[in-house]
Every structure is written in structure tokens, then in C-alpha cells.
């Protein structure tokens, strides 16, 4: 069985190699190769899963040592895999959702002439992501971590002919670098602290190490998680990442890669458990992000950006749960899995809408689409109900548990965190209802030619405004796109109940992450009831604003908060003023020092050496007689020096 683990990664890696090196010959079959290999990886995952279920909870961990990667005295990095319940969960999610999205992309990317390359990148992503979750040490995890970063960069910038896509890819890459530096520092700290970076020894030794060091490691890990999972303050890249093709947004920037930070924190649970200060920071980051993302999600008219804000917010929930320690780890992962289903489904639905609407993304140009795209409407609707936490659907079970756990943190912290989580749930209900209403209900605003929007709106007016306007013909997408959506909708509906009822998921994951029952200051029922209440409030407000009244085709100016939220709560302005300007000033002063001081010394040296060279060169005058004199002089000096050495 152990040998199969490598196969999980090998299949998509092979796909990536074949597709990216194969050249145009494979254009016709490239997408099938990619899809089959992704499915193969999923199949292997299922085999391993059934095998794992057949064993008792204590014997479920599999390890496979492939080879020694960097064996240097005292420093040992192995390519070794570690498959336990946590990794297994991720393997199934990644390869399962990944396969569905491969299938979806066959239809979605049909008219793209670089489709083969797209599937190569997708396979590369799968391989890297699986490596990330299967690695048995932090260094190998880092390889996967960078691998998914690369795949993400390539896929965001896939339509590189669009400057905005190229810029977005660069932005994502750069912001992620900040987090990656955190991870590399964490790994170095681990090596100096524990002398190794394999999960087993590091996590076992975490309990007996000084808290200061562990806090440092934990905070560096959190920085890494913030980068990859788009948490405040490294959240700014995720919105722009929606420039990538929609399947990419669904797979990488909603369901899987952005959850890598949560994986990292849960995997390193032992370190965080022993560093309560760091845990507090984690919960704060999670709570801030879940509100931040939700607020941004309320203001966006671009359907994908609204969903991106929602992703940020939902991952905020997971990070919050992960920061709560053993009372939250399992729920973080549970929400991660259910979120994987409904968010992927929502994105695929958004892609389907765009597919039928000539790639229009502005929700103010949608409206009344439920008649034209019934399958999309139903699946998207189920995803919507799941994400807002409609009782009985996936999100309800997982999110409710997190809110409960946040209250159970105890004391003022518990109230604040729980309150934030509850508020977030209300906002989620609001903005998701808004998306739903603007897209599928109301007037058919796409029938009229668009009017130029005020400069403040961040939605660019469509390019063809000047010419004769031909309204789009909304239509249902092909079955290769709708089937994955239907499958994901099933997951959105039933996964939560399946996991939550009878604490099935808890028993599955507990041996790895550990679990402690929290005791909320109010009863669980109260929490659940208030969740439902805020849900109703959020939906009601949205209905009042977007359901009862017609939606203006051009965004109104809006309040100060709305305008700020449209600008992603000024995240880019903040980065620009603080980091870019500050960086420029720093660079300029460094350049000045470099020019005057360093270059002065260097150029001065160079000039003097050059001058010396020119003068010495004159000694070489071409006359044998003067050469002979120099030899004679040299010999005399040589003899004299030798004699002198004896004399002294």
C-alpha cells in the first residue's frame, strides 16, 4: 500500500511532464491525458482510503521513504511521504475536486488554443498540492508549497495577453513570496531548535521546548499561512487572482491551494498548542479576515471578486478555528472540506454564467438568468444555501461548530471571537443573497446596452459600448460543465450532514489532530439558534435592497464604507503607501549610498588599477635590451633578497 502513495503524485506529475514537453502533437488529446491522470490519482486515493478504513484508528498512518534527498552530516532531508487521516482528507479533496474541475475545463477551455498547456499546469498543480499534503517533513512540504505557488502564478497569468492577468499573476507571486520567506525562516528555526524538520520528531519535541522559540516558529508558520491562504495582512492578491480562468479560481483559489495555510497550522498543531500567544494571533488574524473578506464581498459587482471575498472570509473561519487549538482543529478541516465542495460549485456556477453571458462578469449586467440556465441556477442555489449555513446543508454543520468553538474559547476573547464569527455569518448571508438575487432574479438587465459607469466603480465599462449593442444569448452550459456542478452540489448539500451527524468526521480525524470538547458560555442550542437568526436577518436585508427594488445597472456612488469596500478596503492603497513608497524611499537611499560610497570606492579602485596598468604597460617597450636589463635587475634583486633572507 505504501508504494501507492508515490503514485498519487506521480500520475499528475507525469501528466504535467507529458503535456508541457509534448508539444503541439498532443493538442488534440492533451485534455484527456490530463483528466485521466487526475482521475487516476483520485482512484489511487480511493483505494488507499478504503484500505485505511479497513484498519483500526491507531494503525491508519502509512509512511513511505522514497530516497534521501540531501544527506549531509547532521542535516538530513528525505523524500518521504506520510499518509494519515489528515493527509487522506486532503488527498481526496484535492484529487476529487481536481478531477471534477478537469472535466469542467474540457468544456470551459474548449475554444482556447492553449488548452493543452492549461491542463499541463493543472496537473502540475495537483502534483505539487499532493506533495504538499503528503510530505513527511517541512522541507519537502516547502517544495510542494513553492510548487503550488508556481502553478498558481502560471494559471492566474494564463491569459498573459491581458496585462491585467499578467499583473495579477505577478502580484500573487510577490505577495506569496512574503509568506514563503516566513515558511523558510520557520524551517530554519526548526532545524536549529530540533535538529530536524521531519514532522514526527519536531512535533513530538515541541512540548519540551522553550515557549519563546516555539512562538517564533509558530508566528513564522502563520506568516506563511497568511500568504498562501490570503489572510490579512497578505490578502491583497486573491481578488486579482480571479483574472485566471474560472476553473482555476474554483480549484486553486477557492477549494484547495488557499487552504494550504489551514493545513499547515493544523499539521503543526503541537507547535501552536505550546505557543498560546501565537494561537491568539492566529485567531485574531482569522476573525479579522473573515470580516474583511465578507465586507469586501458585499461591495463587489464582479461576481468572481464577490466570491473571492467570500473565499477569504470562509478561510478566515478556518484559520480562526485552527487558532482555537484542539477544540477547533477538526472543525477547521471539516469546514475546509465542505467549503471545498460548495465554493468550487459556486465558482463553477459563476463560470457557467459567464460562459453563457459572453464572459461578462459584472452582476449588474446579469439578472433573471434562472430561466435560461436552470441547472446552473439550481446547483448555484444549493451552493448558496450551503455557504450561508442554511440548516441541514453542509455549511450549517461546519460553520455552526466553528462559531460554537469560538464562544467556547472562554472569557472576553471567546465573546469577541464568537461575536465576530456570528457577525460574519450575517454578512455572508447578506452578500451571498445579493449575488444570488442580482444574478438569477430581477430584471434582465443585459438586454440593454451598458451605460458608462462612474469612474468610481471598479468595473470597467464593456469595450464594445460604442458599436451596435447585441445582447448576449444566455444558455445552459454543456454537460461536461454541468455534471461537475451537479456532483459538487450533492457535496454541498449532504457532506455537512454526513460529517456532522454522529460526529463522524470528528472520530475520523481525532487520532491525528486531537480534540477537546469546548464548553461555550451559552448552550449549543442558543448558538445554533442565533446563527439561524442572523442568517435570516442577513437574507432579509439583502432581499430588501436587491430583491424588492430593481438593481441599478450602474453602481450608485454609495457610502464611504461601500466605496472603500469596492477598493478592497483600501488594501492596495495601504500597500502602495506603506510598502511601495516606503520601499522606494529605502531603495533610493540605498542606491544613493551605493552610487556614492560603494561605487565610489569600487570605481576609484578600478580607475587606479587601470591607471597603474597603463603605466606598467609602458615598461613593455618592445626592446629586447630593456627586457634584458629588467631581467638582470630582477636576477640581482633575487640574489640579493636570497642573501638577505639568510642575513636576517
Amino acid at each position: 500500500m505504501e508504494n501507492l502513495i508515490a503514485l498519487l503524485i506521480a500520475a499528475p506529475l507525469l501528466g504535467a511532464a507529458v503535456l508541457l514537453c509534448g508539444g503541439r502533437r498532443l493538442d488534440a488529446v492533451g485534455h484527456w491525458i490530463g483528466t485521466v491522470l487526475a482521475a487516476a490519482s483520485f482512484a489511487v486515493g480511493v483505494v488507499l482510503f478504503t484500505d485505511m478504513l479497513g484498519r483500526s484508528a491507531e494503525e491508519r498512518t502509512l509512511t513511505r521513504h522514497l530516497y534521501s534527498w540531501i544527506p549531509v552530516e547532521g542535516f538530513r532531508a528525505d523524500v518521504a511521504f506520510h499518509l494519515d487521516q489528515l493527509s487522506m482528507t486532503f488527498v481526496l479533496l484535492i484529487s476529487g475536486v481536481g478531477t471534477l474541475i478537469h472535466v469542467y475545463s474540457i468544456g470551459y477551455m474548449e475554444h482556447d488554443e492553449r488548452r493543452r498547456r492549461f491542463f499541463g499546469y493543472l496537473n502540475l498543480f495537483l502534483a505539487a498540492m499532493l506533495l504538499l499534503v503528503l510530505a513527511d517533513n517541512y522541507l519537502l512540504l516547502y517544495v510542494g508549497w513553492e510548487g503550488v505557488g508556481l502553478a498558481s502564478y502560471l494559471l492566474i497569468g494564463f491569459w498573459q495577453h491581458k496585462p491585467s492577468a499578467a499583473t495579477a499573476a505577478k502580484k500573487a507571486f510577490l505577495v506569496n513570496r512574503v509568506g514563503d520567506v516566513g515558511l523558510s525562516i520557520a524551517i530554519m528555526l526548526m532545524f536549529t531548535t530540533f535538529g530536524t524538520f521531519a514532522f514526527g520528531p519536531v512535533l513530538a519535541a515541541a512540548g519540551d521546548t522553550g515557549e519563546g522559540k516555539l512562538t517564533a516558529i509558530a508566528l513564522m508558520l502563520l506568516l506563511a499561512a497568511c500568504g498562501k491562504s490570503a489572510q490579512v495582512p497578505l490578502q491583497s492578491w486573491l481578488g486579482d487572482a480571479m483574472e485566471g480562468p474560472t476553473p482555476v479560481s474554483a480549484l486553486i483559489h477557492a477549494a484547495t491551494m488557499v487552504t494550504a495555510g489551514v493545513y499547515l497550522i493544523v499539521r503543526s498543531g503541537a507547535i501552536f498548542n505550546a505557543a498560546p500567544d501565537a494561537q491568539l494571533v492566529v485567531t485574531v488574524v482569522g476573525a479579522v479576515t473573515l470580516l474583511f473578506g465578507a465586507v469586501v464581498g458585499c461591495a463587489k459587482d464582479d461576481i468572481k471578486k464577490a466570491l473571492a471575498g467570500s473565499t477569504m472570509s470562509q478561510i478566515g473561519y478556518m484559520v480562526l478555528a485552527a487558532g482555537l487549538g484542539p477544540i477547533g482543529y477538526v472543525f477547521a478541516i471539516m469546514h475546509l472540506v465542505t467549503h471545498g465542495f460548495f465554493k468550487a460549485g459556486l465558482f463553477l456556477g459563476a463560470g457557467s454564467v459567464m460562459h453563457g453571458m459572453n464572459d461578462e462578469v459584472d452582476m449588474r449586467r446579469y439578472g433573471g438568468l434562472r430561466k435560461y440556465m436552470p441547472v446552473t441556477f439550481v446547483t448555484f442555489g444549493l451552493g448558496y444555501l450551503a455557504i450561508i449555513g442554511f440548516p441541514g446543508l453542509s455549511g450549517f454543520f461546519s460553520k455552526d461548530k466553528i462559531i460554537e468553538a469560538a464562544f467556547a474559547k472562554g472569557g472576553a476573547e471567546g465573546w469577541i471571537l464568537g461575536g465576530a464569527a456570528l457577525l460574519g455569518a450575517a454578512i455572508t448571508a447578506y452578500y451571498m443573497t445579493r449575488v444570488m438575487l442580482m444574478t438569477f432574479f430581477g430584471e434582465e438587465r443585459w438586454r440593454d446596452a451598458p451605460t458608462p459607469s462612474p469612474a468610481e466603480s471598479d468595473v470597467e465599462p464593456a469595450a464594445e459600448t460604442r458599436g451596435e449593442y447585441t445582447p448576449p444569448h444566455p444558455h445552459e452550459s454543456p454537460s461536461s460543465m454541468t455534471i461537475p456542478m451537479i456532483v459538487l452540489a450533492f457535496g454541498s448539500v449532504f457532506a455537512g450532514a454526513f460529517f456532522g451527524i454522529g460526529d463522524r468526521f470528528l472520530h475520523w480525524l481525532e487520532p491525528v489532530t486531537g480534540h477537546a470538547h469546548g464548553h461555550p458560555p451559552v448552550s449549543a442550542l442558543t448558538v445554533t439558534l442565533s446563527t439561524v437568526v442572523v442568517l435570516i436577518v442577513g437574507v432579509a436585508i439583502a432581499w430588501a435592497q436587491y430583491g424588492r427594488r430593481p438593481v441599478p445597472a450602474v453602481a450608485p456612488r454609495g457610502s464611504l464604507l461601500t466605496r472603500a469596500a469596492r477598493r478592497d478596503l483600501l488594501q492596495d492603497d495601504f500597500n502602495h503607501v506603506v510598502l511601495v513608497r516606503g520601499g522606494e524611499h529605502l531603495t533610493r537611499s540605498l542606491v544613493y549610498v551605493d552610487h556614492t560610497l560603494v561605487d565610489g570606492v569600487v570605481n576609484g579602485t578600478a580607475a587606479s588599477v587601470g591607471g597603474l596598468s597603463g603605466r606598467l604597460r609602458k615598461l613593455q617597450n618592445g626592446y629586447a635590451r630593456s627586457y634584458a636589463v629588467s631581467m638582470f635587475g630582477g636576477a640581482a634583486v633575487l640574489v640579493a633578497a636570497t642573501l638577505l633572507m639568510r642575513a636576517v
Binding site: 629586447a624 629588467s630 630582477g634 633578497a641 636570497t642 633572507m645
Partner: protein, 549 residues
């Protein structure tokens, strides 16, 4: 000295001839040298008896076979343990057969083999009157520009004598690092120098410059030889013997039976010090160390480029071999006297070579100054006075000789109407026009500069490491600074080749025959292999690092 003692000397000398033992010659152990010298003699006979049309082919054949056979003999000797356990002094104490000797002989033979390939190249120059011509004058004896020269060109003459000349030079070079007494050393010096003087004079193009170079080289070489010979005489006066072992014993003070006739002068330290200094000076002249380097740029520039390449590589190997043996076998007891002096020489050589090279505008002169700087780097290894010092120098010499031959072979390819285009300005943009040639040359330049993954780095690292361990840390610092200075002009050529616009009237790159191609390819291959995986060769040099005494 008393009268009876003098009488006994007289009577000893007057003993019958029959009492002189026939010298014992180990032909097998001397076979590499004997093969090459024999082939050189055959080459002379070929000149005399083989028809002119086929001389070239016969000469190339004889040279290649002889050098290959000699190399095989060296390998066989090394495999037979003569490099390590069975190291031996052959020919009545005249020639050492030991690790350093065999290693250097092997290096010289391989360098000479590549040298023969470049000598034999006949496709670079345009055909003269329907005859393929090489880099050498049609008739070396004719006055440049005279009617007799034109007639010789018309008749399709070629100077095939270069091949036996090269073989004679190689013969001398093989003995030079193996010489185990001062007279053999001197004879070897002259045997390899005289053919080189001649070879320098026979360029087909720019013949006046070539002849000037040869005359300069000859005059200064003769001058240096005179110093050497004087030094040898003084050393003989000091030790009463020319044998290395014997002199070493006298220096150590461990000598047993002093010849009464020499008791008066023996052990006079002034003789020793002056003699040693002058002898070493002759060798420093050959390696091109400052301040005995002045011939190098002029000769490198004037000599036919294949000769320059061969000479730059093989002479340096042979001369450093001889210098190592002299300092490590004869004068180890004197090292506290010669080390500081050699320190100074190494410092001025490294810095002088590197600094003056900066303002050079001719590629051959540039490489000449580069070779001076490299002589300084190798001297740093010599100064280490340890086994690591020897092995690092051996490795460096091996690496350096291939880079040098390859680099000069590339220089022969870049040509314009006047022959080789050696002025640096003409190399501008070569990378655009002939990326492969420029890339190959860039590899050689990077190796000269000592950039990692080239043999230059491995060699430089080895000598600096040995020098630092030998207590010459300051020298290493100077060496690194000199390397930095040197990197400037190497990289400048690369920048010139790849990042400048090609000049419209720039040179063309001639397509060589497989001969030159082989020489360049082997040069690149060795450069890269020694750079990427140097350990095997470092081990080989390490095994060969013990001198027989």
C-alpha cells in the same frame, strides 16, 4: 692538499679504461622520452627522403603515433607503479621516474598531441595557388616579401619541419621535469628551448613580427640560460656534485664522505644561495614570472598561434615541473631562505600579470598576460611546500594546459583578410555572429577566470587551499584580489562578444578541419569535466605527488 693526495687523484684518473662501468640505462622507464626523440629523428629523415607531396601526411602520422605511443608508455609506467611504490631514478641518477614526472609527462604529451592537431590544420587560410596551407611559412629561410618567398608559395612549399621541431621540444620537455641532476636539467632546457625559438619564427602571416618575436625569445632565452648555467656552476662548487640527491644532502649537512679535493669550497653558503637563486631564476624565466616575463607578450603575439598555444601550455608544465623538483628535492633544506623570495615573486607575478592585462587590446597579448598571472597563482601552490602543494600544482597545470590550447585554437578561427583578427575590437559581437565559437571561447575565459564548474576554479581552489594550509594565507588574499582583477578582463571579452553590436567589417569565423575541432572539443570537455567532477583527477594528482629522492 698534500702531494700524495694529488698523486692519487692523478693515478685514479689514469686507471685503465676497462674499469669504467658501462652506464646502466633503463630503456623501459625512459621509453616515453626515447619514443618522442626517436620519432623526431625519424621526422628529420622524412624531411630528407620522403617526397614533398606526402611529407605533411607522413609527418603528422609520425608525430601523432609517437605522441600517442609515448603517452601509452607513460600510462603503462604509471600502471606499473612507477608513479608511487616503484618510483626510481633511472639512467645513472640522471632522470627520475616518479609520480610528478609521469603526471607531467602525460600532461605534456596530451598537450603536444592537441598541439600537433592545431599545427596540422590546413583549412583556415585560403588556398595559395591551389595548395592548402597551414599557419607556417612556405619557406622559413626566405626573406619576407622577397621573390624567393613568392616562388616558394607558388610552388606550394610548406614548412613540415615544424613537426620534428615540435617533437624535439617535447622530448626536452619530457626530461625537464624529470631531470635529477643539474646538467640533465640544463641540457633538457636547451633541447626544448631551441626548437621553440625556431618555431616562433615561421609564421606564414606577419612574418616580420614572427621573426622579431623569435629573435627576442632567443636572445632573452640565451641570457636566462646563461644565468642558469652560472647558478649550476655555483651549486656544483658548493656541493661538489650536480646530482640533486647529493646537493640536498650537502644542504642538509648529512653528507658522509667529502671529496677532499672539494673540501675547500664545499658548504660555502654564499655559493649555495647565489647558485640557487640564479638557477631558480632561469626556471622563473621559462614560466614567465615577473620580472622575467617581458618576453611573454611579444613572443605570444608574434609566434604562429598554434605554436603559441602549444608553447604556453607545454612549456609552463615542463618548467613548473622542474621548478617543483628543484625546490622540493634539492632545496627543501633551504626553504626558509627561498620561501620569502618566492612569496615576493608570486605576489608581483599575480598582480603584475592581472593588472597589465587590463589595458591590452590584442587577444594574444591578453592571454599572454593572463598566463603570467596564472604563473603567479601556480607559484602560490609551489610555495605551500607540502604534498598538497605538489598535487595542487600538478592538477592546476593539467587543467591550465587544456584551457590554453583550446583558447589559442579558437583564436586561430577568428579571421579577416589579414589572417587572424587578434585585435579585441574585432571580436565585438562575435556571439551574435558565431554563437558556438563565442560560447566555447567564453567557457575557456570563465575557466581562466576561475569560475566554478570549470577546471580553472577547481585548480585555483586547490592551489589556494594548499597555500593557505602551508601558512601562506596572505598570499592567498593577494591571489584572490588578483583573480578579481583578472576576472575583469576575461569577463570584458565575454561582454564584448555577446553584448556588443557586431561590426560590419568584422572578422569571419573559419570552419576548421576535424583536427582543430578535436583540439577545441577536447579542451572544452576537459575544462568542464575537471570543473564538474574534479575529485578523481585531484586524487590522481594526489597519488602522484611524491618525489623520488
Amino acid at each position: 692538499m698534500s702531494a700524495p693526495a694529488v698523486h692519487s687523484l692523478w693515478t685514479t684518473a689514469a686507471d685503465p679504461i676497462s674499469k669504467i662501468d658501462a652506464p646502466k640505462i633503463e630503456y623501459g622507464q625512459l621509453s616515453p622520452t626515447l619514443i618522442v626523440i626517436g620519432a623526431a629523428v625519424v621526422g628529420v629523415l622524412v624531411e630528407a627522403f620522403v617526397p614533398r607531396r606526402s611529407r605533411y601526411y607522413v609527418q603528422v602520422f609520425v608525430s601523432v603515433v609517437a605522441l600517442a605511443a609515448a603517452f601509452a608508455a607513460v600510462v603503462a609506467l604509471a600502471a606499473g607503479g612507477y608513479g608511487t611504490t616503484r618510483a626510481h631514478i633511472a639512467a645513472m641518477g640522471a632522470v627520475a621516474v616518479d609520480g610528478p614526472a609521469l603526471f607531467l609527462q602525460g600532461t605534456i604529451l596530451l598537450a603536444a598531441l592537441l598541439g600537433v592537431f592545431t599545427f596540422a590544420e590546413r583549412r583556415l587560410d585560403p588556398e595559395a595557388h591551389g595548395n592548402r596551407v597551414d599557419s607556417f611559412a612556405a619557406q622559413a629561410a626566405s626573406v619576407p616579401g622577397s621573390d624567393s618567398e613568392k616562388a616558394a608559395v607558388r610552388a606550394g612549399f610548406t614548412t613540415t619541419e615544424v613537426f620534428p621541431l615540435l617533437l624535439f621540444a617535447v622530448g626536452g620537455m619530457l626530461i625537464f621535469p624529470a631531470a635529477n641532476d643539474l646538467l640533465t636539467l640544463f641540457v633538457a632546457l636547451e633541447v626544448f628551448s631551441l626548437p621553440l625559438y625556431l618555431l616562433c619564427a615561421v609564421a606564414r602571416r606577419k612574418r616580420l613580427m614572427s621573426q622579431e618575436a623569435a629573435v627576442k625569445y632567443f636572445l632573452l632565452g640565451a641570457f636566462a640560460s646563461a644565468f642558469t648555467l652560472f647558478g649550476i656552476a655555483l651549486l656544483y662548487g658548493y656541493a661538489g656534485s650536480v646530482s640533486y640527491a647529493r646537493i640536498a644532502q650537502v644542504v642538509d649537512g648529512s653528507v658522509q664522505n667529502v671529496d677532499p679535493a672539494l673540501a675547500g669550497t664545499m658548504g660555502n653558503d654564499a655559493l649555495l644561495l647565489v647558485g640557487a637563486a640564479l638557477t631558480v631564476m632561469g626556471l622563473l624565466f621559462k614560466v614567465g614570472a615577473v620580472p622575467f616575463h617581458m618576453w611573454t607578450p611579444d613572443v605570444y603575439q608574434g609566434a604562429p598561434t598554434p605554436v603559441t598555444g602549444f608553447m604556453a601550455a607545454a612549456t609552463k608544465v615542463a618548467a613548473f615541473g622542474a621548478l617543483l623538483r628543484l625546490l622540493y628535492v634539492v632545496l627543501p633544506g633551504l626553504r626558509w631562505d627561498w620561501r620569502p623570495v618566492m612569496w615576493a615573486v608570486a605576489v608581483v607575478t599575480m598582480l603584475g600579470g592581472a593588472i597589465v592585462a587590463i589595458t591590452q587590446t590584442d587577444i594574444k597579448r591578453l592571454l599572454a598576460y593572463s598566463s603570467i598571472a596564472h604563473a603567479g597563482f601556480i607559484l602560490a601552490g609551489v610555495i605551500a611546500t607540502s604534498a598538497e602543494g605538489i598535487s595542487s600544482v600538478l592538477f592546476y597545470l593539467g587543467a591550465y594546459s587544456f584551457v590554453t590550447i583550446g583558447a589559442f585554437a579558437v583564436v586561430t578561427l577568428v579571421r579577416d583578410a589579414g589572417g587572424e583578427a587578434t585585435h579585441l575590437s574585432k571580436w565585438a559581437g562575435l556571439g551574435r555572429r558565431s554563437p558556438l565559437v563565442a560560447a566555447v571561447f567564453a567557457v575557456f575565459l570563465l575557466a581562466f577566470a576561475g569560475i566554478p564548474l570549470t577546471s580553472g576554479f577547481a585548480g585555483k581552489f586547490a592551489v589556494f587551499k594548499a597555500a593557505a594550509q602551508g601558512g601562506a594565507g596572505a598570499l592567498v588574499v593577494v591571489g584572490v584580489i588578483a583573480s578579481a582583477v583578472a576576472a575583469f578582463f576575461y569577463i570584458r571579452v565575454i561582454v564584448l562578444m555577446f553584448f556588443s553590436e557586431p561590426r560590419p567589417e568584422g572578422p569571419t569565423v573559419a570552419v576548421p578541419s576535424p583536427l582543430t575541432m578535436t583540439a577545441i572539443a577536447v579542451g572544452v570537455a576537459v575544462t568542464v569535466v575537471l570543473g564538474v567532477a574534479p575529485q578523481y583527477f585531484l586524487d590522481l594528482a594526489g597519488q602522484a605527488s611524491v618525489f623520488v629522492r
